[in-house]
């Protein structure tokens, strides 16, 4: 391997993977304690950290959704479920606006700090963690917002 690739390797090794979150560590340790006590643990009993209390509000007059782009920390547009080649896009965290398919989407953190307010073409939808919308072409699309630990 040439020196430039070796340098790249070294640069990559300097990036440190994230460890368990506090909650994750606590949950794992509790799990180990239960297993050590010969408690029969079924994975179905474990409350997933990724589960969110979904408060849906299906939008009757929905719009196509994708946010606009920006570099830096903030909201991260993940891949479509059915499109593993989609490129993640990072958008600014505070007030975010973008246009997709001619529809303007704006998200603003809610005043009480819980959830977000989503405005689609001027119509306000209160989103907690997920909101269903329908695109102009009739596609069902779910916007899922999450704060990572």
């Amino acid at each position: 391997m040439d020196k430039s690739l070796q340098k790249l390797e070294a640069d990559l090794e300097n990036l440190i993977p994230r460890g368990l979150s506090d909650q994750g560590k606590h949950q794992c340790e509790q799990l180990i304690d239960r297993l050590a006590e010969q408690d029969k643990v079924d994975s179905a009993e474990i409350v997933p950290l990724s589960s969110t209390s979904l408060s849906w509000k299906s939008s009757a007059a929905a719009a196509a959704v994708i946010l606009g782009v920006g570099l830096g920390s903030g909201w991260y547009l993940g891949n479509y479920v059915n499109d593993s080649n989609a490129t993640p896009v990072v958008v600014e965290p505070e007030i975010q606006s973008g246009i997709f398919g001619g529809d303007l989407i704006t998200t603003v953190p809610a005043q009480d700090g819980k959830g977000k307010t989503i405005v689609i073409n001027g119509t306000t939808e209160n989103g907690d963690d997920e909101i269903n919308v329908k695109s102009r072409t009739g596609e069902n699309i779910t916007l899922r917002f999450s704060e990572a630990q």
Partner: protein, 177 residues
């Protein structure tokens, strides 16, 4: 059948402390968030514990841990796929805090770009890169885990590095151009 004791629990916790980061780094490749990756890790812990019953509940060898994690991760992905409607797209927005490579206060621009570009590598290349760089497996162990040849593992790794290098060069040239 072996019986368990608190000492086993302590040994496993120590093992987890030592290995959680690299296990999570790999689990994250199969998940959409760090939280999901932690869920997958917990499921893997349960399975591993039961596997190790015949080995006096010793903490597992790392290759076995990755093998179980891979299986759980694949299964998790399949279950998730079935839960979501086929004709429903899910656009996932996550805060930048979900990065599985820990950003630090002194991050250089190169480090930020590198983290982003690693995430954008094709899955097969990224998987080998993660296993080699951050999970600490050898090419032989990676090959065994992924059911590929040693040569294929090494090739994918080299190709991943080349792809990253090419992308970084292109970005730098674009920003200076």
């Amino acid at each position: 059948m072996s019986s368990t004791s608190p000492a086993h629990g302590t040994a496993w916790k120590d093992w987890l402390n030592e290995n959680a980061s690299r296990l999570l780094a790999y689990a994250r490749q199969r998940c959409e968030s760090m939280e999901e990756a932690e869920d997958v890790l917990q499921d893997a812990l349960i399975k591993l514990w039961h596997y190790q019953e015949e080995r006096d509940y010793r903490p597992p060898d790392i290759p076995l841990a990755f093998s179980v994690l891979r299986y759980i991760g694949l299964d998790h992905g399949r279950k998730k796929g079935r839960q979501e409607k086929r004709n429903q797209k899910i656009v996932q927005f996550q805060s930048g805090q979900d990065e599985w490579l820990d950003p630090t206060a002194e991050d250089t621009e190169d480090a930020i770009i590198l983290r982003r570009e690693v995430d954008q590598l094709p899955e097969k290349l990224r998987e080998v890169l993660v296993l080699k760089i951050w999970s600490g497996l050898t090419f032989a162990e990676i090959a065994d885990l992924l059911k590929i040849s040693n040569n294929t593992a090494a090739s994918r790794y080299r190709y991943a590095l080349q792809q990253l290098q090419k992308k970084l060069k292109h970005l730098k040239d674009s920003s200076h151009g």
